[in-house]
């Protein structure tokens, strides 16, 4: 599963986009395993509306990369049958909010088939969902639907934040014998990184968070995030350095399984935490994360765990979305509210 790390000097490598890395992951998975089939709307000739599947139908044929009728429940439902017969389908939902017709298949069958059959019929299928806002999309093109998925036992829920993780986690998702909802932050599709598509880096296991920047003493806090909010947190951490704060950014990479160990290790180091995501705060992943952190790290916490999330409103029209999406300022404001006074008045009761 793990491939060699690219040791060539950075100058020899071309920057790749997340979209390219995802396409490369699909291509490599299809080349490695004839059971891998891609299906969805416009994934064939067109290469998908985001061009992630570009070239797959040409290289592997229409039977391996299939333009389906326009019906998401049918796409996922037939993928279930294909997986029952030993294939490893990778389904593309065109947009987050277009995946909802497939919800019954996902909740009533995809998530339960292994359990229902006492492990006899696992469903190794991946549901790719371009998700989240920030691309100026009109209504139904910018939803953060992860809370629905993570509330459904039996599914893995994965969201990459970097180009390398996009490749590695998608390979891991396709290789998984469990169904994976793979959330692709569409506003990061065109983000670039120094990552060589010809020589992919290692494939991480699903369920391990990473700490992108480690705090180094002083006034420190942990920013917990995933997907499109990770770059926001990294930018906030950079800005906070000038203010004398050291912010560790935990990139969860998967909401299910949830990596309590990595998250809690960071919070125990820093004593403070803010969860950042685009999904609405009420009933969103942040509530679960804050509860888990509080249950496990209460005596290490100097302040309540705060959430910076999307407002509890239907996703706004594109001309107003910047007011909704958690940005650097809102993250830093939350960090500023983490009861730093208690440190400044050492020895006094707070």
């Amino acid at each position: 599963m793990t491939t060699a790390t690219d040791n060539r000097p950075a100058a020899d490598r071309k920057p790749a986009t997340m979209a390219q890395a995802l396409g490369r992951a699909l291509r490599d998975a299809m080349a490695a395993d004839p059971a891998v089939h891609v299906l969805g709307e416009d994934v064939g000739t067109l290469g998908g509306v985001f061009r992630i599947t570009s070239g797959l139908a040409e290289e592997f044929g229409d039977d391996r990369c299939t333009d389906t009728p326009l019906a998401e429940a049918g796409i996922l439902g037939t993928a279930v049958g294909m997986a029952m017969y030993g294939l490893r389908p990778v389904v593309e939902m065109q947009f987050d909010a277009f995946a909802y017709p497939s919800f019954e298949q996902l909740v009533s069958h995809v998530s339960r088939m292994r359990n229902r059959t006492r492990g006899k019929v696992p469903l190794p299928l991946t549901v790719r969902v371009p998700y989240g806002g920030g691309i100026g999309g009109v209504e139904h093109h910018s939803d953060s639907s992860e809370a629905y998925y993570m509330a459904t036992p039996g599914l893995h829920v994965v969201a990459p934040a970097t180009v390398a993780d996009a490749y590695g986690l998608l390979r891991a998702a396709i290789a998984s014998d469990d169904p994976v909802v793979f959330l692709e932050p569409k506003r990061l599709y065109w983000s670039k990184a120094d990552w060589d598509a010809e020589r992919p880096t290692e494939v991480p296991p699903i369920g391990r968070a990473v700490v992108h920047t480690a705090g180094t003493g002083g006034r420190s806090a942990t920013l917990i995030s995933y997907g499109p909010s990770v770059p926001v947190c990294l930018e906030a951490a950079e800005a906070a350095r000038d203010e004398g704060w050291h912010l560790e950014v935990v990139d969860l990479r998967s909401l299910v399984p949830f990596d309590d160990d990595t998250v809690c290790a960071s919070v125990r180091r820093t004593g403070r935490a803010v969860v950042v995501h685009e999904a609405a705060g009420f009933g969103g992943p942040g509530g679960e994360i804050a509860a888990r952190v509080t249950e496990r790290c209460f005596h290490h916490l100097e302040a309540p765990v705060l959430r910076v999330a999307g407002f509890d409103i239907p996703y706004p029209p594109p001309m107003l979305e910047r007011h909704h999406l958690p940005g650097v300022d809102r993250v830093l404001d939350a960090v500023a509210r983490l009861q730093w006074e208690s440190e400044w008045t050492e020895g006094s009761t707070v």
């Binding site: 039977d63 429940a73 294909m82 039996g154 949830f258």
Partner: protein, 375 residues
Amino acid sequence: MTVLEQPGAYRPTPPPAWRPRTDAAPLLPDPEPYRMLGTSAAAGLAPDLLTRLHRELVHGRRYNTQATALTRQGRLAVYPSSTGQEACQVAAGLVLEERDWLFPSYRDTLATVVRGLDPVRALTLLRGDWHSGYDPREHRIAPLSTPLATQLPHAVGLAHAARLKGDDVVALALVGDGGTSEGDFHEALNFAAVWQAPVVFLIQNNGFAISVPLAKQTAAPSLAHKAVGYGMPGRLVDGNDAAAVHQVLGEAVRRARCGGGPTLVEAVTYRVEAHTNADDATRYRSDAEVEAWREHDPIVLLEAAMRDRGLLDDDGFQAVRDSAERLAADLRTRMHQDPVLDPLELFEHVYAEKTGQLREQAAQLRAELDAEGER
């Protein structure tokens, strides 16, 4: 001369003439449900087939009454009976080859038993000790599906996958009249036709979706007519005529196996019992209606045809009834044994590997069980 008539003027190309993509006529169902028993076609039926159908029908009826009795004895949480629909159940259970797949709904446990599944394992869902009691790959029977019509796209996908792999496997998917209103019914039929998947859809039109009659379910001329809109043939058959259902399904299965694509079969039958033991059918239909259907009972029809041809005498009929009693007694005895439950198994099959959360929760439950044991 107008501007458009001048030499070199722009003239839009007219669109090509519209034509239907296929001829609808061959796809249309017959105006009346197809019957064999009591018609001249019955004379050509093989005695072996009739004997087999009869034995399974009688066994099936007894299975239904036994399962219903088990609900009263508290041994089944619920039982949706297929009494009156045994011809469809038996034909569906017999018509497939071993390598084929059956996709049943919750009312179709009899079809799974006819296909060879142990009835105790078929009834596991309805007893409530697990959500499914068998390995689907062992008998090539998908788990009983409770959400209506959601199993139909699975059948299409499986049949499609088999075809892609070069296997001549056919999938037979069962659905009721109510299920035809679901979106998944539509999507499954559309995918099947577009992909020319080797799948057969059998609608058991038993007249009711719990309490709602067919007239409130659809305005289609018949449910079989729906096939035409997808570009596949629709067949209408008397669902209480076991020979006719077996014949029509057999033709559809052969057609699918030979690359002819999917077929939609509507079998007109009647749900003689209430929806389940928890239902009260007197609230929405008359006894007279039920009695009329009892006269068109699948066992009555088949026995009349067999007596006409001298295929079974009184002793023969009695022998079949005796063997049905033995099966029922065996089922009763085995269902009266308490199932072995392991609460910790609840965490075993959620994922290939337990997550950290599930390991913690399993430990919690284990501690609770230990504490219970000490009390």
